[in-house]
Structure formats: structure tokens, C-alpha cells
């Protein structure tokens, strides 16, 4: 069996004890409360909304508008991958920042977009009864509300 370890290595002086990290959004009770609040308003604004999740950029569920815990986790990780792939394509084509991503399917669609100024994403699943335009504008409103709520209550 080969061993390449005889090449010189840079020895790090141990893992630096990192400075205390700010609480990540999916563990921060304030952020979770804000997310729950905006999501419940979302349901009122839009009857064709099936499911909505707010997630961290790295795919942890912050809050959801459905009770299937397993499904919520799944949506959060898939939405995180989709968002990152969208960003990668936009970057490669040099077309600026991703505004939103739409997956249109036969009986419904998914819209997702970043919560402005935060490393969080809103992912929402509508049934086909809604027009894309309406769903998009409501989703945008909800994402903006989330930003406003976090920053106002944090201040």
C-alpha cells in the first residue's frame, strides 16, 4: 500500500479555538419565531400555497408551513442544492445574481428565492391554480417581510 506522507507537511498549531459563532438561524429562537410569523401570513395571502419552508443557505430547515417533519427536512436540503446550482449557472453565464428559481411541473410549481440580506432561502410549493405572476409577487413579499421582521426586532 502506498504512503505519500513522506512529503513535507505544513504543521498547523492545532485547530484554533474559534471565536464564539453567532447562533445559526435554524437554532435561533428569534429567527425561528419570525419565520413562523411570516409563513403563517403567507398562507393567508395565497390559498393555492401547498407548502413553504424557510431554510438556511446550507439546507437546514428554519420553519415550515406543513407538519410532515421528514418532508420539510427533505425540501430544505433540496431547495438549498437548487439555489446553489442556480447561482452556479448564473455565475458561469455571467448574468448577475439569482433573483428566483421556478420549477414548473404538471400539477404545480415551486418558487424559491433568497431572503434579502440574509443567508436564508424561501421555498414555496403552489398548486397549478395560481398564476405564476401572483405566486411570485406574494413570495417576494414574504421574503422581504422576513428580512424586515428580523432586522427590526433584532435592533
Amino acid at each position: 500500500m502506498n504512503d505519500l506522507a513522506n512529503l513535507p507537511h505544513v504543521q498547523f498549531s492545532g485547530q484554533q479555538a474559534s471565536s464564539p459563532q453567532p447562533l445559526s438561524p435554524h437554532k435561533d429562537p428569534h429567527v425561528i419565531a419570525c419565520a413562523n410569523e411570516v409563513l403563517s401570513g403567507f398562507a393567508d395571502l395565497c390559498r393555492s400555497l401547498h407548502h413553504a419552508t424557510i431554510l438556511t443557505d446550507d439546507g437546514f430547515e428554519v420553519a415550515s408551513l406543513a407538519d410532515d417533519v421528514r418532508q420539510n427536512g427533505r425540501v430544505a436540503s433540496m431547495a438549498s442544492s437548487m439555489q446553489a446550482l442556480g447561482d452556479a449557472v448564473a455565475k458561469d453565464l455571467r448574468i448577475g445574481a439569482t433573483e428566483y428559481i421556478i420549477i414548473a411541473a404538471t400539477t404545480g410549481y415551486v418558487i424559491q428565492m433568497r431572503v434579502p440580506d440574509n443567508s436564508m432561502v424561501l421555498a414555496a410549493h403552489f398548486d397549478a391554480a395560481e398564476t405564476v405572476g401572483k405566486a411570485l409577487s406574494v413570495a417576494r413579499l414574504v421574503a422581504t417581510n422576513m428580512r424586515t421582521l428580523i432586522s427590526s426586532e433584532a435592533a
Binding site: N2, L4, D58, G59, S80, S81, A84
Partner: protein, 188 residues
């Protein structure tokens, strides 16, 4: 000209993204997000979909390098990319809580790639944590996949020469598997 699709799998922080960056001849495609799970790996970002890079081997063999997300909640990406792959670079960081268990888990998940082409195990961050020694990994690989030729290296994912050595040994195995399959086909 043949095209190989090689996967880079392994736990969070093993160095998959770094290894592809070290190896690729094109600007890599990355899908990094801010890492909120600092307990598992204390680094700024983590891969949430895939890494992509390319390297030419020999005169014209193009090798496509795909890095997977290390975190299991992205395992749907593992499934998607696994279907296309003919080989696996399994990276395990020696400074993980239980790296031999990580080796077990990922060999269980991706062990079939040995039959499709080949597997090489690459132990990283041995400068940060000197144990377990490399023979522990080799022993475990023999236990889990007896009779298979699966080389085990230590390498620094940041070092392109070391990563190249790992990749070349994998490609040699893949080509041998393909030759054996072709000769068996002729014999049949």
C-alpha cells in the same frame, strides 16, 4: 477518447472541494453555502450540491471530477451523481471524531463503484491528527471488501501532486477493470 466520471465522496471537511480545486485544469464549478454546522466541521463554507472540475490524462482522456456534499441530508445528490460514475476517490479526514467509522459508512454507500471501475481511499489531514495510522484503514478496507484491490493513501487535498498520484492509481484500476471486462466479453 474515453471519458471517465470520478466521484469524490467522504465526510464533511474531508477535502473533496479542495481536492477538485487542486486537480482541475478548468475553473471549477462550486456550490458552497455558509456553513452553519460548525460542530461537525469548523470551516466557513460547505458544499450543498456538487463540485465540478476536469483534468486531461495521457493524450486525450478527459476525466470529469464530481465532488459530493459530505452531509447526508444531501444524499439525493449522491444518488444522482453515483449513476454516472465509474470510480470513487473516497476522502476521509484523519482528524474526524471516528474516521474509521466514516470509512465504513462511505464504503457501504459507494462500495459498488469498485465493480464499475475502481475505488481509492485517500486519508487527509494526517498533519492535524497523526492517528489512526494508515494501516488501520487498509486493514478495515480488507475486512469490508476482501480480495478487492483498493489502494489506501495519505494525501493533503491542497497538494495537487499528491492528489494526482491518488487519481492516477484509480484511473489505472478503472482501465484494468475495463480491460478484464472486454477480454471476458471476447471469451464468452
Amino acid at each position: 477518447m474515453t471519458e471517465h466520471v470520478i466521484l469524490f465522496a467522504g465526510p464533511m471537511g474531508a477535502g473533496k472541494t479542495t481536492a477538485i480545486e487542486s486537480l482541475s485544469e478548468i475553473e471549477t464549478i462550486r456550490t458552497e453555502a455558509i456553513n452553519t454546522d460548525r460542530e461537525t466541521a469548523d470551516k466557513d463554507t460547505t458544499t450543498v450540491a456538487l463540485d465540478y472540475g476536469e483534468i486531461t490524462v495521457g493524450d486525450e482522456d478527459k476525466v470529469r471530477l464530481y465532488g459530493l456534499p459530505g452531509q447526508r441530508r444531501f444524499d439525493f445528490m449522491w444518488t444522482i451523481l453515483n449513476e454516472r460514475a465509474v470510480g470513487l476517490v473516497l476522502l476521509v479526514n484523519n482528524d474526524a471524531a471516528d474516521p474509521i467509522k466514516d470509512l465504513d459508512e462511505f464504503l457501504e454507500e459507494f462500495g459498488e463503484l469498485h465493480e464499475k471501475g475502481g475505488i481509492v481511499v485517500c486519508v487527509t489531514r494526517t498533519d492535524v491528527a497523526p492517528i489512526p495510522r494508515i494501516d488501520k484503514y487498509a486493514e478495515r478496507v480488507r475486512e469490508l471488501m476482501p480480495g478487492r484491490m483498493i489502494p489506501v493513501f495519505t494525501a493533503d487535498a491542497r497538494n495537487s501532486d499528491q492528489m494526482r498520484t491518488c487519481l492516477m492509481s484509480l484511473i489505472a484500476n478503472i482501465e484494468m477493470t475495463a480491460m478484464i471486462a472486454a477480454s471476458e466479453e471476447r471469451a464468452a
